[in-house]
Structure formats: structure tokens, C-alpha cells
Subunit: 181 residues, 2 copies
């Protein structure tokens, strides 16, 4: 950030009075600009012991697999964001059944809220941000072609829970570098 | 937003190619500026059947009560944010025990992530943003002096769960106007 989005003057990084972190403060109108983590709402869409994954048609990580996920918008709830992303990326309709994981990525200022979603029908089709969408039995998840470590992490926990016969809520903070699964 | 925070030129609201929502786009460098919901990390600190509440020393809602809560920062996890807010506002140390509620406020672009926290000691003291902090038996919660509807909503669910002897994860989207409890 170089300029004040309100008045257009230059900003300077400094710790405002009463604060303890440096912020971008406008040299002219003195507005403080806060930057906060973004929510990525994701969904693991389920259909008869299979889950739906999408192969990304956009950078970063074009050509690799993920569950539907994207930045939450103002004006929607977390669940609505997960349903919308599933519709946009995979043309699939889901009913959210549970919050499955809250995964913080402090190094990039993101928080993944991953839901489980029951597919209303097995119908799915690549949206504009996907090259291909497909239902996978858990044993066929393409672990070596996952788009992001956080996606692998959520799915690894999911497979473990299915194996153990019990879903739990996962709360974790992911380091910059994760082992690849 | 009036000016591009990157180059300082004017921005115009328009729907970028491939998008379906209006964004602030720079007239000069064409950077798209996204605005996303913010996470408010909160904690219900527990000590021997009592919970800790803070009376706000700042606007909005100065003089009214809330559990410790505030905007999550980049570089921390959701749990760390809840612990930090509890320390800042009430000088209290907590160990996070569970995620308790995910409450979306679509009309103001906020998502409350409310945790339960076990106080390590009963020591608490007003931080700079609090006039007063105090442990309350649930029967003494000052319902008529709550700072925000979302705080009342989370605490009402909490009291219900305690009454029923079982905590569950609460996932909800709150309307603009809530009944006051």
C-alpha cells in the first residue's frame, strides 16, 4: 500500500497511538488502513462415499486438484460462501452438513473454513475456474497432484476420520511448509 | 474507496472480466481491489462456573459489556487472536478449549469465531480498552447492557448449552436486527 484509498495522499507505516502494530496511516487525512486475514470458504462435497474435486483452470497451481474453495464475499454467510464456490467451480448443488475444519495460515493471512456438503444430485460439471471436476472414491484421491498443502491437510484429516468412523471438528494452524501427502 | 492504494489514481466500480460482482478497479494500473469480510476472534473465558466479561472503554457501545473479542491480525492463528484479545482487554490468561460458535454477520461483513477458554488463574484486570472486567455467574449476566446483538446471541446459546449439560458448535448467520435478550 502506497496511497490512501480515501484521499489519495501518500501513506506511511507507523504504530498509531494506542496500537501496538505498524499500520498504513495517511500523511494527509490520517486515516488508519487495517489489513486483516481473509476467509477462504471451502466445501468437501460428498456423494455415496465419494468426494468431488476440481482441477484448477487458473493460476496459481493451474492443473492441480482441490475441493471447491474461494474467498468469502461481503454480504454472505460462511455457509453461503461454501455453497456458492461449489456451484461456481463444479456446477454442483450441496447442502452444508457441518463445519469440518478451521485452518489458519498465518504466514499468508488466510483462514480456511472447510465445510462438509451433501451433494443433492451427483451432477457436476467444470465451472469457468475448473478444467475438470470429478467424484473420487477416497482411495483414488490424487495426493501427488494437490493444489495447496492446506487442501492436502484437510483431506488427509477427512480420510482419517472416515477410516475411524467419526468426524470431528479440526482446528489447526498450518506452518509455511507442510510435508506433502 | 476513491483512490488506488497502489498507484494513487482514481478507481471506478465495475465488474471485472470473468467476475460477477462490482469491484473497485484502478483507472490507471487496472489493479482490482477486493474487499472481504473480517474475522472477529472472541473468547468466553471460564473460571469455576463463571465467565469473564469486559465493560467497553471505547466506542462503539462504550460502557456496555462483551466477552473479549477483536479483529484478527495477519500473522496469527484464530486461536492466538482469541488468546491475545483476552490478554489485551482483560489481562487474563486462557487456554483455548474449543471453537464454540461461528457467527456470520453478512450485513457488516464480519464473521465472529468465538472460542471457549479455560482461565489459567482467576486474575483479571481492565486493559486499556475496558473500563471494568469481572467474573459473572451465568445467572448474573447483564443481558440488558450487552454491547452487541452477536454477543448476546453467543452468550444466550452458551447459557442454553450449560443448562442442557452439553456444548455444541454453533453455526449461524445473524440478521441485521435481533431481538434483545
Amino acid at each position: 500500500m502506497n496511497y490512501c484509498s480515501h484521499c489519495g495522499a501518500r501513506v506511511t507505516q507507523k504504530v498509531p497511538l494506542g496500537d501496538n502494530l505498524p499500520r498504513h496511516v495517511c500523511n494527509q487525512c490520517e486515516l488508519i488502513h487495517y489489513h486483516n486475514p481473509k476467509i477462504v470458504a471451502g466445501c468437501i462435497p460428498e456423494w455415496e462415499n465419494q468426494i468431488l474435486l476440481c482441477r484448477r483452470a487458473i493460476e496459481p497451481r493451474l492443473g492441480l486438484w482441490t475441493f471447491p474453495a474461494g474467498f468469502m464475499e461481503i454480504g454472505e454467510s460462511t455457509e453461503q460462501a461454501a455453497v456458492r464456490e461449489t456451484k461456481e467451480e463444479a456446477q454442483a448443488d450441496v447442502a452444508i452438513t457441518a463445519l469440518y475444519a478451521v485452518l489458519s495460515l498465518p504466514h499468508i493471512g488466510q483462514v480456511y473454513l472447510v465445510f462438509r456438503g451433501r451433494m443433492l444430485t451427483p451432477i457436476c460439471e467444470a465451472g469457468s475456474e475448473s478444467l475438470e471436476v470429478r467424484l473420487f472414491p477416497l482411495i483414488a484421491i490424487p495426493w501427488k497432484e494437490m493444489a495447496f498443502p492446506v487442501v492436502s491437510e484437510a483431506l488427509r484429516r477427512y480420510v482419517d476420520d472416515v477410516t475411524n468412523g467419526q468426524f470431528q471438528l479440526h482446528l489447526a494452524s498450518l506452518p509455511d511448509r507442510l510435508p506433502s501427502y
